[in-house]
Amino acid sequence: MPTIVSVDDSTVPGEGSSRLLLLVSSDNKHIVVEEDIMSRSRFISKQVEGFEATSQRHAILLPFSSFVLNKVIEYCSHYRGYYLLEDDPDAAPPGRSPVREWDQEFLDVDRNMLLRIIKAAHYLEIKSLVGSCARAIADMIRGKTTEEMREILGVENDFTPEEEHSPSSKCTG
């Protein structure tokens, strides 16, 4: 659960159609964003519903850096007002659709940044962004040998000799 702090109404202005939200990143950067933009995030939507129930407005503290948060906001801003099948809780899960062209450029970042974005998207419950990141990571390692995958992901072979030679895991990867 995020830490929620009370905020002064003057910090988060706005009533009616274009209400603003105050998001606070882990590096203590305050980012004001329109509620509409972040409505793609189920997590934020739930928070906002909570605010309405208690008639109190809060800043939402998020456990990732402003750099990552800004990327997520950039994504949400780009698709503001768009219907994305992945974000529809009532829609069937999408099949093998390719990564959208804009998403490909948006996610053309280094491995660690990509992992941070996917974690943030998962935390904020933005399914479409999680899906695009997952596809991007899958694209990175698809068709590679096991050794190449380890190199890309920065992990080492941590199997014991017994695990490595287990008969059910023979692989030519």
Partner: protein, 658 residues
């Protein structure tokens, strides 16, 4: 080389340096312990790298993307599925992959070891059973029989069964002896070249209540299959039924009446052929089949009349995609007379986005559609109606009806460069068209116009075509294919197609090129296209965008293909150059959204010029047309224009811009 100091081998606390008295087996044991310790250190390290922070559910998500992607190397019966490589990256990934039964639900049936592994790892999850049997990877029938024996205990959780192979009926029958309550997709495809009814697939004993998709290809079975023809079906694809198994129109109709949820319907070579010279007679009082959710309909039959009989029984959404194919207009059966080479039927099929038929059948079907086919919005001639139907392509091809059609077809067979090669062997395919099956004759019949008594037949034909095209839902048409010499008159181009503002491609041949060229440069254009008289009573919704470009024929033209045309015909080249030039000028009028660079002619394809000029003259014509200093076959013309010049060889249209 000096031996390392004993204490330098003490890798970690708890690992003792070996003494000189240690036996080789003890040393091996210590090495193994050291390796285990090393593995645990690496595991700890791996748990702290960024990739380890990915939540498990996302990791499963990533694995599923890797697994499903078709770019993995093709299956090899001696190797495990390629995606399994991810389970060898690290221990955590392996744990995650093995703990997710859904990842293993696509059972590997081409490798016995991996089949058992995937069956076990999928635990109780619903499974897909793809069995692609070909002789290079299977030892038939032993392997398939063995596979099925292993699968039967798990058939209860089968969600999708796909079997593709030769003579599959005898092998798959055991599968149908058992209930498959979760089955949603069943696909059976037999690849044998000659099949008979000795190995008919017997009906599954248990009803597949959850079946949504049924695809049967070259399967021998008795129509219908009550246990599979479920009312819940959303996709039904049946093709290449054995002739003696084929149902009648009434039998098909009876089945479709029970499937109101169909979204995709494909029936190819399923309908029993009607007796020669007659169409199926359906009781006019019987109710039509309503398929309100249909998105795509593909229907293939030998005879055009049978296609018409079938579609006359349906009511479908107006935006459904239609693919209709008939091989012949008369009772002639290509298969019976020419073995297994139906591809040499009298014409090359014209493929379009929404409507497919053989060339001569096309006009017949177009006209028949008007008469018989029931869109869910009524077509009332003369009344205002929504013209935004889904039809995307229209063609009037080889429709020369200004003289004896039989003679014309003979002439066509002898002179048409594409059809000519069939003329010696298969002449009767081309010339076998009797007057009864002449598209023009049928047009007259369907529209109630006299054929023999027409005082000005050409005028009547023109009217017929015009009215037919205007009656069709054409506002979204993007392709026009004209090989009819009547279209040498530019007024006919304007009259028929002047209102179609979204045409992207035109294929034109013969004298019709002259009409197109003249129409492109504005000749024959009526004063106003907004008059109801031009539209034959159909009133199209006013559109400001259309109004501004009213003076341009095909303002969005991107592709032009000229086939067998006579460029040397008087004025054609001049008109064409002016027409295309004028067309470009019209883009430069500065109207919003229609800048010069927005509507480039992407491709110009010239195929087999019917021109008696010398080659140098021909090149000269082409120079003028494409405004290039030299002529060569290639791409990259001026102003982004791509062009192809293909003088002698006949190449498929699809190879270039379809």
């Amino acid at each position: 080389m000096a031996a390392p100091a004993a204490n330098s081998l003490a890798l970690a606390p708890g690992v003792q340096a070996p003494s000189r008295a240690t036996t080789p087996s003890q040393l091996a044991q210590e090495i193994a312990e050291a390796r285990r310790y090393l593995a645990s250190l690496r595991r700890t390290r791996n748990s702290r790298v960024p990739v380890a922070q990915i939540p498990v559910e996302i990791l499963i998500h990533i694995f599923s993307f890797i697994k499903c992607h078709p770019r993995w190397p093709h299956r090899n019966p001696d190797r495990p599925p390629a995606w399994v490589a991810v389970t060898h990256v690290c221990q955590f990934w392996r744990e995650v992959a093995l703990s997710s039964p859904l990842l293993w639900s696509n059972i590997v049936t081409y490798n016995m070891h991996w089949m058992q592994e995937t069956l076990a790892r999928s635990k109780a999850a619903p499974i897909s059973l793809p069995m692609y049997v070909n002789h290079s990877t299977w030892e038939l029938p032993k392997t398939l029989t063995s596979v099925i024996t292993h699968i039967i205990p798990h058939i209860l959780r089968a969600k999708k069964i796909t079997i593709h192979g030769a003579n599959i009926s005898s092998y798959v029958q055991p599968l149908f002896e058992h209930a498959a309550p979760w089955l949603e997709v069943l696909e059976l495809s037999d690849i044998r070249s000659h099949f008979d009814n000795r190995n008919r697939i017997l009906l599954p004993r248990q009803e597949a209540l959850n079946l949504r998709t049924l695809r049967l290809k070259r399967c021998s079975f008795m129509w219908p299959i009550p246990t599979l023809f479920s009312p819940a079906l959303t996709e039904l694809k049946i093709s290449h039924m054995l002739p003696e198994d084929r149902p009648s129109l009434l039998q098909i109709r009876a089945v479709l009446l029970t499937m109101p949820n169909l979204k995709i319907l494909v029936l190819s070579d399923v309908l029993r052929k009607s007796p020669d010279s007659t169409a199926f007679v359906v009781d006019p009082a019987s109710s039509t089949v309503s398929l309100p959710f249909l998105q795509s309909l593909s229907f293939t039959a030998e005879k055009a009349v049978d296609v018409v009989s079938f579609i006359s029984q349906l009511i479908v959404p107006s935006n459904a995609s239609l693919h209709l194919l008939c091989r012949t207009l008369d009772g002639f059966n290509v298969n019976e007379n020419h073995g297994d080479n139906p591809g040499v039927s009298h014409s090359t099929p014209v493929t379009s986005t929404a409507l497919t038929t053989s060339t001569s059948g096309l006009s017949y079907l177009l006209l028949s559609l008007i008469q018989f086919f029931r869109f869910d919005s009524p077509i009332v001639p003369g009344a205002e109606r929504d013209v935004s139907y889904g039809c995307r392509s229209v063609g009037v091809v080889e429709l020369d009806g200004d003289s004896d059609p039989r003679r014309d077809w003979c002439l066509l067979a002898g002179t048409h460069p594409r059809l000519g090669r069939y003329s010696s062997q298969h002449r009767h395919q081309i010339t076998g068209l009797s007057e009864d099956y002449s598209p023009v004759w049928n047009a007259c019949r369907l529209l109630g116009l006299p054929w023999q008594d027409a005082p000005d037949r050409e005028h009547h034909i023109t009217s017929i075509l015009l009215n037919a095209c205007l009656l069709l839902p054409l506002s979204k048409v993007d392709t026009v294919i004209i090989s009819c010499d009547l279209y040498r008159d530019p007024a006919l181009w304007w009259g028929t197609f002047g209102r179609l503002k979204h045409v992207k491609a035109v294929v034109v041949s013969g004298y019709a090129l002259g009409g197109l060229a003249a129409a492109l440069c504005g000749k024959g254009r009526p004063r106003s296209l907004s008059k109801a008289s031009v539209l034959g009573g159909i009133v199209e919704a006013k559109n400001q965008d259309h109004q501004t470009r009213e003076g341009v024929l095909f303002p969005e033209l991107r592709h032009l293909k000229i086939e067998n045309a006579y460029l040397g015909w008087e004025g054609v080249m001049d008109d064409l150059i002016e027409g295309l030039g004028g067309w470009r000028q019209n883009q430069e009028l500065g109207k919003p959204g229609h800048q010069a660079d927005r509507n480039p002619l992407f491709s110009l394809y010239i195929d087999h010029l019917s021109d008696d000029r010398q080659e140098e003259d021909r090149k000269s014509c082409l120079h003028r047309l494409i405004a290039r200093p030299t002529v060569s076959t290639g791409i990259d013309g001026p102003d982004g224009l791509q062009w192809f010049c293909h003088d002698w060889a006949t190449t498929k249209l699809d190879d270039y811009f379809w």
